[in-house]
């Protein structure tokens, strides 16, 4: 099931919300009762009914698209639950349990995501191993990584192992973050799972974030995808230079709004249920270096590799270049089982490494505008590598991009598409700047200092503005969802 879809928005989500509210009353009653009979002794889980609702709907959510693979996910949860308990025992057994648990997760993702890629790569060297017939289960890249982070955190003593298997199931399967992230750490929501105090403010801010995410996905990303597909899916060898750039820039904006929109929807929904996930994007396209870009893009993935690969390997203390390249190789591969992702990862690995020894040392002396141009160019070019999993097409496209294919600079199709989408592109560029941050700050300032208008008036304007934006985004998104039939999330199989 995907979020930006009528069935999810208007059937599944309302059903969850209604039952969740009812379950909230049940929890309240249970807790009052408990307090009465046990005078002050609290259960470990204060939300048994709401959690049950979330678990049941999360399983339905997953089974909706993958009725068979749900067994795989349940199996994975069972193994990780057991491993978590074993890790807490002292001594060697703990280390062995960690090793076994992590190996299990890596084996799982390897078999279901990379086996086909490995076989076809080996076969390209002249072997003929039969291709395994495996469809990658949705969300496997996310839930195996969450499992690994849980085991590692338990081993390090950062979090207590969860003794209730259903709560581990809830952590892994919670539907807002199940299939496309963010990669939530157990520690982030360990508290929320057993005790959460859902306030009106959570619902207000969570739902607003959800609508922003929906708008990013449906209004911006889906519309931009029409441009990128038009230029990148056709005969790339015959593209004009302008067409190649327009298509690639459209894709650059599309993938950001697609993925960050999805993250926003996940975070917003989590908030509405009383969970606080960390932000996953922080305006990546305003970065002044590639190093900075990767601190702002898909933050939960970057910090995962930092905490569970880079630092354990030695960080900047031992063979740092090796550590960096390993992390980027893995980052590339994580995005997909194909050679272009390997190249894409290494591309950024090399840039980050070079920056470490050059740019970052002299950064303050270079005018910001050059840093922006430099970063954007490398980011945009990187998306070309990301987009084409066919090397032949990639080479053709890059030639077209730099006018090396002898094609024209401009043609009527580019002109038509640019004119026809000019306002959309402008809106997308503006929305990739920290606009919301700016408004929020201005609002906070007006509340603090008063300024020219009273703080009540400012609050009224701000609130009505927020409400209007939400309603408009929801309405327009619904209309566009109806008119568009093709609506896959880019990060679905990752």
């Amino acid at each position: 099931m995907i979020f930006a879809d009528q069935f999810f928005l208007y059937v599944f989500l309302p059903a969850v919300l209604i039952l969740y509210i009812l379950a909230g009353f049940a929890d309240k009653a249970i807790n009052t009762f408990r307090r009465k009979i046990r005078s002050g002794r609290f259960s470990a889980n204060e939300n048994p009914v709401t959690n049950a609702v979330l678990i049941v709907f999360s399983l339905i959510f997953y089974a909706w698209g993958e009725p068979i693979y749900i067994l795989l996910m349940l199996f994975s949860v069972a193994v990780n639950y057991a491993a978590g308990l074993l890790i807490t025992r002292k001594g060697k057994r703990s280390k062995a349990a960690l090793a076994a648990g992590v190996t299990f997760n890596i084996a799982l993702i390897f078999v279901f995501k990379y086996a086909g890629f490995l076989v076809s790569s080996v076969n390209s060297l002249g072997f003929s191993i039969p291709m395994p017939d495996i469809v990658t289960p949705v969300g496997i890249s996310f839930y195996t990584f969450q499992s690994i982070s849980y085991l590692a955190d338990v081993y390090r003593g950062d979090v207590e192992p969860q003794k209730d298997p259903f709560l581990i199931l809830l952590y892994i399967s919670m539907f807002p973050q199940l299939i496309a992230g963010p990669i939530v750490r157990y520690g982030t929501i360990a508290e929320d799972i057993i005790f959460r105090n859902l306030t009106l403010s959570d619902v207000s801010e969570g739902s607003f974030k959800f609508f922003i995410g929906l708008g990013k996905k449906v209004i911006l990303a889906n519309q931009l995808s029409i441009i990128s597909e038009q230029f990148l899916d056709g005969d790339v060898g015959g593209l004009s230079v302008g067409g190649a750039w327009l298509g690639l820039i459209a894709f650059t904006l599309q993938i950001y709004f697609d993925f960050s929109g999805y993250s926003d929807m996940a975070i917003g929904m989590g908030r509405c249920f009383g969970f606080r996930f960390d932000e996953n994007f922080n305006y990546p396209y305003i970065s002044r270096s590639i190093t900075e870009f990767w601190r702002r893009w898909h933050i939960s993935l970057g910090s995962f590799f930092r905490d569970y690969v880079y630092i354990p390997m030695g960080g900047n203390k031992r063979h740092q270049p090796l550590n960096i390249m390993t992390v980027w190789l893995l980052t590339g591969l994580w995005h997909g089982a194909s050679w272009n992702f390997v190249i894409w990862g290494l591309y950024f690995g090399i840039i980050v490494m070079l920056e470490k020894y050059t740019l970052l040392k002299v950064k303050d002396k270079i005018p910001k505008v050059f840093l922006h141009i430099y970063s954007l160019f490398l980011i945009i070019f990187g998306w070309a590598i990301f987009y084409f999993d066919d090397m032949g097409r990639l080479v053709k496209f890059v030639k077209a991009l730099f006018g090396a294919a002898g094609n024209s600079l401009w043609d009527i199709v580019v002109q038509d598409s640019l004119a026809g989408n000019l306002y959309l592109l402008a809106a997308a560029v503006i929305c990739s700047l920290p606009l919301g941050q700016f408004i929020k700050n201005a609002y906070a300032k007006s509340l603090k200092t008063g300024g020219s208008m009273s703080s009540s008036a400012a609050a009224a304007i701000f609130t009505m503005g927020k409400a209007a934006v939400s309603v408009i985004l929801l309405t327009v998104s619904t209309l566009l969802l109806i008119s568009g039939t093709n609506n896959p999330f880019l990060y679905f199989r990752f």
């Binding site: 909706w64 698209g65 068979i68 199709v413 008119s483 679905f492």
Partner: protein, 581 residues
């Protein structure tokens, strides 16, 4: 007052002083109430409002709620279909689509009043290719989108549905677009996209000399098979993009004249070529093509028919011999294809000409269509007017002529000159026949996509004296067209074609006289529905009229006939029944 807030204070937005906390709470209450009400209202509308079940705009049935079976649950198809149901079968779908089209207009502006839809680089062919065509055309089709040329198909072009977003895990998705659509071969024609110029939509032409030559060859084959007694005419009709395409788009629009000339130059003198091009070009300032539909108008067809009548040496009635009928508010297929609001907002008149001075009797042999327009049998022949009233279903007005494509139409006229005409055609041919009622005593109109008899046997049995191939340029250079015509010569050879139903054709039986009303009262947009509501008296009558001629070996080996092959079992079964009778 003048105190400047520090950066740290700005960042901690959520920490308000106690007085502001109340304000914040009030703001939250207001926001959640407004947002929640709007959400609930849209949700209620989406779930509880009546669903239409079909889209007039897209000319198709919308997804239905699936049946709940354990198998459907375990293979996931139930969930998929439920999702599709809510996505597709939306209340007020067509109206909401129109609003969405209007919204999409705000993404930018039209440069020079032109808007392109899926226009891609044309592999403009000025030279015939040397290599095997099948391979070449299909690969060049990479940049070319496929658009349905029939009326009962979704508006979305294949390019939009096929090229899913760049799913990185599956390398096949990238190549998918370059592969020929195997299944929908019968309804797809190659084109270079659609350009909306002002208020006129032009489907841009890709052209293919090699396929055009194959088309000429197959026409030639008919002439050989039919011999000297039958005159064979070839009339390739240009479409609007040839005459109204602005200079700036020409690189994406191949010359139809070159392609027509190429076809004609490959025909021997035994086949009479009909030059519709010159007279259409001469009248280009008149309304000879629809602006909102991919067809030509009656007027355009009239000029072409006049050209044909001259070539055939038959009498021809001037326009004054016709009653002019006009239906306004016509918005044709091009809006469905492009969802371009400039088309929607500029409807046009649908004009047709009813012959005054000639009597005629029309018999329809409708094909029964199943899933995906598969032919699953034939209905009892019915008598109805040549012109069917579609004024209630304005986007389908082109079906006014004979009610659509999936049928064989026999027109018996009061003309008495011994000339019997057969027209093999695509939908362009639908607008032609009424101009020839005074020219031939019998006219048989057959769509190349819906003809299950053996062409040679059929034409000989009907005593055809003149055979006209009337295809538009797109179809004349599309490979599947050639395949259809080739198959028509080889299919159904074994048993004789005659069944009771066919031989008793023009006589009206009393039970059937009511059928014209039945046909017009049907929700008229979809040919399928028109056909299926035709009264069927008994099961046995179906058995006798189902075509006994199809043999599984023929259908299976013919490419592009999956729709027939899939139903072979049923056909065989019924022909069994007939044999035993």
């Amino acid at each position: 007052m003048g105190k400047k807030a520090s950066g740290a204070e700005l960042k901690t937005v959520s920490r308000y002083p106690t007085t502001d906390r109340k304000k914040k709470r009030l703001a939250d209450i207001v926001y959640v109430t407004v947002m929640g009400t709007a959400f609930a209202a849209i949700m209620a509308a989406m779930i509880f409002m009546p669903r239409n079940g079909e889209s007039e705009l897209e000319q198709r049935k919308l997804a239905e709620f699936p049946e709940l079976t354990s198998k459907a649950i375990f293979d996931g198809s139930f969930m998929e279909d439920v999702t599709l149901f809510f996505r597709d079968n939306v209340p007020m779908r067509d109206k909401l689509m129109n609003i969405a089209s209007q919204l999409q207009e705000y993404t930018g502006f039209r440069s020079h009043d032109i808007k392109l839809h899926n226009v891609a680089i044309a592999e403009a062919e000025t030279m015939p290719e040397e290599t095997e065509t099948a391979a070449v055309t299909e690969t060049t089709a990479a940049a070319v989108t496929e658009t349905d040329d029939k009326q009962n198909v979704p508006s979305v072009t294949a390019a939009q549905t096929e090229t899913s977003a760049p799913e990185t895990s599956a390398p096949e998705t990238m190549t998918e677009g370059t592969e020929p659509p195997a299944e929908d071969d019968n309804v797809n024609i190659l084109n270079n996209g659609i350009a909306v110029v002002g208020t006129r939509a032009l489907m841009l032409y890709g052209g293919n000399f090699k396929v055009g030559e194959a088309y000429a060859d197959v026409v030639e084959k008919y002439k050989k098979v039919l011999g000297d007694k039958v005159n064979v005419y070839c009339m390739v009709v240009p479409t609007s993009s040839e005459f109204y395409c602005p200079e700036s788009i020409m690189p994406y629009n191949a010359s139809q004249l070159d392609n027509i000339n190429n076809i004609y130059s490959h025909l021997s003198d035994d086949v009479v070529t009909v030059d519709a091009y010159t007279s259409l070009e001469a009248h280009r300032t008149e309304n000879i093509y629809f602006r909102t539909d991919h067809h030509w108008t009656s007027l355009g067809a009239y000029y072409a028919a006049r050209e044909f009548a001259q070539a055939a040496g038959v009498p021809f009635s001037e326009l004054t011999d016709y009653d002019v009928k006009t239906v306004d508010g016509y918005v044709g297929t091009m809006y469905g294809y492009t969802q371009d609001i400039a088309i929607k907002n500029n409807p046009e008149d649908f004009v047709y000409y009813v012959p005054k001075n000639v009597d005629y009797d029309v018999t329809y042999y409708n094909y029964l269509l199943g899933e995906g327009n598969a032919i699953i049998g034939m209905a009892e022949p019915i008598h109805a007017d040549f012109f069917i009233d579609f004024s209630k279903s304005k986007s389908s007005l082109y079906c006014t002529f004979m009610g659509g494509d999936a049928k064989i139409t026999h027109v018996h006229t009061s003309t008495d000159n011994g000339r019997r005409l057969a027209i093999f055609k695509d939908s362009y041919g639908n607008a032609l026949p009424q101009f020839l009622f005074g020219s031939f005593e019998d006219i048989y109109i057959m769509d190349m996509r819906y003809f299950t008899y053996n062409a040679e046997d059929y034409l000989k049995e009907k005593g055809i004296t003149d055979l006209l191939f009337a295809n538009n340029t797109f179809h004349a250079t599309t490979r599947s067209t050639v395949k259809y015509y080739e198959r028509m010569l080889t299919q159904g050879r074994t048993p004789a074609v005659t069944t009771n139903a066919v031989t008793t054709a023009p006589k009206v039986t009393e039970t059937q006289t009511s059928t014209p009303a039945a046909e017009t009262s049907v929700p008229p947009s979809v040919t399928e529905t028109t056909v299926t509501t035709v009264p069927q008296t008994e099961e046995t009558s179906v058995a006798t009229t189902v075509l006994p001629t199809e043999t599984s070996s023929v259908t299976a080996e013919t490419a592009g006939s999956s729709e027939i092959a899939s139903e072979t079992s049923e056909t065989e079964e019924t022909s069994e029944t007939e044999k035993t009778e």
